[in-house]
C-alpha cells in the first residue's frame, strides 16, 4: 500500500459517488453540485498523474466557467416544475439497465485486454519522462504552439465557426416576431407623442 494508492482510492470513490449523485437526484441543483464535485476530484486525479496544467484547466474551464452557467440557468428557471415532472418516455427506463451493462462489459473488456504494465511516457522531445515534467505548462505549450501549431489553429477556427453558427441560429429573426416588435415600437412612439402633446397643452 503506497500513499498514492490511498489518494487514488479516495479520489476515485469520491468521483463515483458524486457521479451517482448527479443522475439520482431529483433536484437539478443537487445534480449540478454533484457534477462540480466530480470535475474537482477528476482534477485532483490529474494532479496525482503529474498533469498539473490539465488539472488547473479542468477546474477553471469546466468547474469554474461552464458549470456556473449551468447553475445560473437552473436557478433562473423554475426548478419546482422540473422536480415534479412525470417521465413521458417510460420505455427509456427499461433500456437504461441493458445499456449500462453493455458499457460496463465494454470497459471490463478494455481493462482485460490492455497492457497493464506502466509505459514510460514520452515527453515533447521524445525522451522518457521520469521526473513527471510531461504535464507542465511549458511542455503543453511546446506541443500546442510549436509541434502541433496547425492542428491547434484549425481547431480554434472550428470553434469560432461553432460560436458564429450558434449566434446565427439564436438570433434568426422570425417574421411574426419582427412584425410584433415593429408594432410595439410604433405604439410606443405614438404614446410618447401623445404624452408630449399633453405636456405642451
Amino acid at each position: 500500500m503506497e500513499f498514492s494508492h490511498i489518494l487514488f482510492l479516495g479520489l476515485a470513490a469520491l468521483a463515483v459517488v458524486a457521479a451517482f449523485n448527479v443522475i439520482l437526484q431529483r433536484n437539478p441543483i443537487y445534480s449540478a453540485i454533484g457534477l462540480i464535485v466530480v470535475l474537482c476530484s477528476l482534477a485532483a486525479l490529474f494532479l496525482t498523474l503529474s498533469a498539473q496544467f490539465i488539472a488547473a484547466m479542468q477546474i477553471i474551464v469546466y468547474a469554474g466557467a461552464i458549470m456556473v452557467l449551468f447553475v445560473f440557468v437552473i436557478m433562473l428557471l423554475n426548478v419546482r416544475a422540473e422536480e415534479t415532472r412525470i417521465d413521458k418516455q417510460k420505455y427509456l427506463k427499461w433500456l437504461a439497465a441493458p445499456l449500462f451493462l453493455a458499457l460496463l462489459a465494454e470497459v471490463m473488456a478494455v481493462v482485460q485486454y490492455v497492457n497493464l504494465t506502466p509505459q514510460p511516457l514520452p515527453s515533447a522531445n521524445g525522451a522518457a519522462d521520469p521526473q513527471g515534467v510531461l504535464g507542465t505548462v511549458e511542455n503543453i505549450a511546446n506541443g500546442m504552439f510549436i509541434n502541433y501549431l496547425i492542428p491547434f489553429e484549425a481547431a480554434s477556427v472550428l470553434i469560432l465557426m461553432a460560436i458564429v453558427g450558434s449566434m446565427l441560429l439564436a438570433r434568426r429573426e422570425r417574421k411574426e416576431d419582427v412584425e410584433r416588435i415593429e408594432k410595439a415600437l410604433v405604439a410606443q412612439q405614438e404614446e410618447e407623442q401623445k404624452y408630449e402633446e399633453e405636456v405642451a397643452a
Binding site: 441543483i29 453540485i33 496544467f53 488547473a56 477546474i59 468547474a63 469554474g64 458549470m67 456556473v68 507542465t136
Partner: protein
C-alpha cells in the same frame, strides 16, 4: 503499514500538514486583525474612536467578536433549502483557504533549533522502529511550489463563486437571490480582466510558479528588479498592475464595487438570511480573499519577499512580504473609507468596455516587447 509510515511521501505529507496548520493559524490571525484594523482606520477616517475597550487599545476585540459569533443563536429560516443553506458558507471558505498552499511567504530560512528538533524527531522515530530522515535545518516558507501555481489560484477563486450563488439561492429570499446573482455576474466579469492582466508578468517571468516568479525579481538592482519597475517590461506591467488592482477589488466585492451587499438596495445581499457562525464564515472568506489578491499583487508585481538585507538575514523575507501585503490591505480599508459605491450598469460597463479591452491591448503590448527585447 510501517512501510507506509517510513515512505518519503508520508513524511512529506506530514511536513506539509504541519506547515499548513501553522500558515492557517497565521492567516486567521491576520484576517482577525485586518477586521480590527479596518474598524480602527475607518474610525480615524470618520473622526470617531472605534473599538478600544477590549484589551489595550482594543487589541483583543477580534477574540471577543469571535466568542460573540459562536454564542449567538443560529437561526435557520423555515423556507430555506436546508442542505444548500448550510453548505454555502463552507463552499465559500474552503477554496479561499486552499489557496494558501502556494503563498510564497519567504525564501528558504534556517529554523531556530532546527538541528536539535530534527535530531529529537529522528530519535523518536527510531524508538518506534521507523527509519526517518528528517532535516529541519533549512525550511522553505511555502507549502508547495506548483508548476501551475498562478492558474491554481485562479481555479480556486473561481470555485468560491458557487458558495455565494448557492447561498443566495438557498436562502429563498429575493434580496439574497439578487445579491447572489449580482455577485456572481460581477465576479465572472472581472475575473476575465484580472486573469488577462497578469499575462504581462507571465511573459516577463516565463513561468507560472509563484516561488520562481519571486526569485526572478531578486537581483542586485533592488527595487528595479521588481516586475513593475523592471526594464523593459515596466510599461505593460504598470498597466497590468492598475488593471489588476481595480479588478481585484471588484473580485472581492469590496467598496466601491460592493454591489452584492449594497445595504441601501438589498438589505445585506447574499448573506441577508445568515446569522451566527455561518455569517462569520462568509465574512472570513471575504477577508481571506482580500488577503489572497493582496498576496498575488505583492508576488507578481512588487517583488514578493524581496527587500533590503534579505540575502544576509533570510527571516527578513517574510517581514518584507507581510509589509507589502499589509499595504494592500490598508489600501482596501482606505478606499472603503473614501469612495462611494458604483451604480450597477456603471460597474458592468467599466468591466467589459474599459478593463477588458485595456487588458487585451496590454497583452499585445507585452508580447511585442517580449518578442523585441527578451
Amino acid at each position: 503499514m510501517s512501510s507506509l509510515l517510513n515512505s518519503i511521501d508520508f513524511q512529506y505529507v506530514i511536513g506539509a500538514l504541519v506547515k499548513i496548520a501553522v500558515f492557517w493559524i497565521f492567516i486567521m490571525l491576520v484576517v482577525a486583525y485586518t477586521v480590527y484594523a479596518e474598524r480602527r482606520v475607518l474610525a480615524v477616517i470618520q473622526n470617531r474612536l472605534g473599538p478600544n475597550r477590549v484589551g489595550w487599545q482594543g487589541l483583543l476585540q477580534p477574540f471577543a467578536d469571535l466568542l460573540k459569533f459562536i454564542f449567538k443563536e443560529d437561526i435557520i429560516p423555515l423556507a430555506v433549502n436546508k442542505w444548500l443553506y448550510i453548505l454555502a458558507p463552507i463552499i465559500v471558505l474552503i477554496p479561499a483557504m486552499m489557496v494558501l498552499i502556494v503563498y510564497p511567504f519567504g525564501p528558504d530560512v534556517p529554523l531556530p533549533f532546527g538541528g536539535a528538533i530534527s535530531q529529537t524527531l529522528n530519535d523518536l522515530g527510531a524508538r518506534f522502529g521507523m527509519n526517518w530522515n528528517i532535516d529541519l535545518r533549512a525550511i522553505s516558507l511555502h507549502v508547495t511550489n506548483m508548476n501551475v501555481g498562478l492558474l491554481y489560484v485562479f481555479a480556486m477563486t473561481s470555485l468560491g463563486i458557487y458558495g455565494i450563488v448557492v447561498g443566495g439561492w438557498a436562502s429563498n429570499s429575493k434580496y439574497s437571490l439578487l445579491g447572489g446573482l449580482r455577485s456572481s455576474a460581477q465576479m465572472i466579469s472581472y475575473e476575465l480582466a484580472l486573469s488577462l492582466s497578469v499575462i504581462a508578468v507571465v511573459i516577463q517571468a516565463g513561468t507560472l510558479d509563484l516561488t520562481k516568479i519571486v526569485e526572478q525579481q531578486s537581483g542586485r538592482f533592488g527595487i528595479f528588479n521588481w516586475n513593475v519597475f523592471q526594464w523593459p517590461m515596466f510599461l505593460p506591467c504598470i498597466i497590468a498592475f492598475t488593471i489588476y488592482l481595480i479588478s481585484a477589488i471588484a473580485e472581492t466585492n469590496r467598496v466601491p464595487f460592493d454591489l452584492p451587499e449594497a445595504e441601501t438596495e438589498l438589505v445585506a445581499g447574499f448573506h441577508t438570511e445568515y446569522s451566527s457562525l455561518k455569517f462569520a464564515l462568509f465574512f472570513m472568506a471575504e477577508y481571506v480573499n482580500m488577503m489572497t489578491v493582496s498576496v498575488l499583487a505583492t508576488t507578481l508585481f512588487l517583488g514578493g519577499w524581496n527587500g533590503p538585507w534579505v540575502k544576509d538575514i533570510p527571516w527578513l523575507g517574510p517581514v518584507w512580504f507581510l509589509a507589502k501585503v499589509f499595504f494592500f490591505l490598508f489600501l482596501y480599508i482606505w478606499l472603503r473609507g473614501t469612495l462611494p459605491r458604483f451604480r450597477y450598469d456603471q460597474l458592468m460597463n467599466f468591466g467589459w468596455k474599459v478593463l477588458l479591452p485595456a487588458a487585451l491591448f496590454n497583452i499585445v503590448l507585452a508580447s511585442a516587447i517580449g518578442v523585441l527585447f527578451l
